[in-house]
């Protein structure tokens, strides 16, 4: 029987052939529960599994490719939309700025119509270079008729005065500057004094210690300094200190927000001083 022995590989082939042959023989005799021959059912089962696997692979590849293409499209679209959004935001900010500017100009025009003074509107083009000197630069100068010591006002109240005009710009000393001062009075009680800048606020000086002054009283320009027209709002009394001396210490909260000034009016008509209070040196 050793003559029947083959090489291992051939023996394996023979084994597989015999097994397959007997499987075919079995399948020819057996039917499945559905009535189909077992060989057909097995073959179909194998082929269908291959089909399913192939279909799954194709679906996965198509899905991956579609997703990749969509993703690329989405990325491009996203970049485009981001650009458009950025442009829209910029445009919106420009529109808001224009609207705000229009409102400011309306207020200025309204102020201008209410006062019987010759004024000119100017843009604030720069703030002060050093924090020790509270100044701003406006976009009009001597070409627009600006001269030193012209009052600068805004719809909220007194801003300051022109100190150095150039041809097309002017430096304005704010009322809160330590070297600034303006004739002032309490609107309710008509008590007079001098509004002096403290660097970040305003203090009312030279007001009699017995004067009728209350917190919240409105402080307006008195017009006696020859710079600021009479009746413009400086601020409101924030704190009153009566130490028993000749003068009361009065802290004033400025009506103007000096940090957000954009447009101002320059009073071209010189103010006519009523009377010069003692110690007031604007």
């Amino acid at each position: 029987m050793s003559a029947l022995e083959l090489r291992p590989r051939n023996s394996t082939y023979l084994f597989l052939a015999v097994v397959v042959a007997q499987l075919v023989l079995i399948s020819a005799q057996v039917t499945t529960k559905t009535g189909a021959p077992i060989l057909q059912a097995i073959a179909f089962g194998i082929v269908s599994e291959v089909q399913l696997a192939g279909s799954a692979v194709v679906r996965a590849a198509v899905g991956f490719w579609t997703g990749y293409v969509d993703l690329r499209g989405l990325r491009d679209e996203n970049e485009r939309l981001r650009g458009e959004l950025g442009q829209a935001r910029i445009a919106l900010q420009q529109e808001r700025a224009l609207a705000q500017r229009s409102r400011n100009l309306e207020q200025l025009l309204d102020l201008r119509s209410r006062i019987a003074l010759d004024t000119t509107a100017a843009d604030v083009i720069a703030a002060g270079a050093t924090p020790e000197f509270r100044t701003i630069t406006i976009g009009k100068g001597t070409q627009a008729g600006l001269r030193p010591d012209m009052a600068v006002i805004s719809p909220a109240g007194v801003v300051g005065r022109v100190i150095v005009p150039s041809a097309r710009a002017a430096k304005v000393q704010l009322l809160i500057d330590r070297n600034a001062a303006a004739g002032a009075l309490i609107e309710r009680s008509r008590a007079q004094g001098v509004a002096v800048g403290t660097g970040d606020s305003v203090r009312l000086e030279y007001v009699s210690g017995s004067a009728d002054i209350q917190v919240g009283d409105t402080v307006i320009t008195s017009g006696i300094d020859g710079i600021y027209p009479k009746g413009f709002v400086i601020g409101r009394v924030d704190h009153v200190e009566r130490s028993g001396g000749a003068y009361a210490g009065i802290a004033v909260r400025p009506a103007v927000d000096f940090s957000s000034l954009e447009e101002v009016l320059v009073v071209l008509t010189p103010a006519v001083p009523d009377a010069a209070p003692a110690g007031a040196t604007p």
Binding site: M1, P8, L14, V18, V19, I26
Partner: protein, 172 residues
């Protein structure tokens, strides 16, 4: 000559199996003489002869039974080939390794045979563990005895014949 001997052994096993080995253990034949012969051929002749012997014997058994033609043949083909591989890779000449091989061959045959029937839904065997195990033990015992007889008897007969010759020569 050996091929004829193998075929004769298979035929004898088939006859004995169909006439004498009717004892059943839980639905499983207590002894499968055809399987014993297939294992013997595979152990002594290798995988090719083993698978052929298994295929022929199994198909013959299937043809004589009411089962599906090919299932028994497939089972014994697998057993013949696998045991032939084992015999070509390991030295299986002592009683204990042979015992293990016979038991393992019986289990492998049962797995393939009963597994195919269960898989195709043609027959249910329940839990045939004890039947298969007892058949494995019986096959192993018969197989080892057969091996001993086949390997011992010819030598003994030759020695006996030789002894008779020496006595005759001395007497003459």
């Amino acid at each position: 000559m050996k091929l004829l001997g193998a075929l004769g052994a298979l035929a004898l096993a088939l006859v004995l199996q169909t006439t004498l080995a009717q004892l059943m253990v839980r639905g499983t034949a207590a002894l499968d003489l055809v399987l014993v012969v297939v294992v013997y051929i595979a152990l002594s002749s290798g995988p090719t002869t083993g698978l052929i012997a298994g295929a022929v014997a199994g198909l013959a058994q299937d043809a004589l039974s009411s089962g599906i033609l090919g299932i028994g043949g497939l089972a014994k083909t697998v057993v013949g080939f696998m045991i032939g591989i084992v015999a070509s890779q390991f030295i299986v000449v002592r009683a204990l390794p042979r015992f293990v091989v016979f038991v393992a061959a019986t289990v492998l045959h049962a797995v393939v045979f009963m597994g195919l029937y269960e898989l195709l839904g043609l027959r249910h065997f329940g839990r045939p563990y004890s039947g298969v195990l007892s058949q494995g033990l019986a096959n192993a015992v018969v197989g080892i005895v057969a091996f001993q007889m086949i390997e011992f008897v010819p030598g003994a007969l030759q020695r006996r014949a030789a002894d008779r010759g020496r006595v005759t020569r001395r007497l003459s």
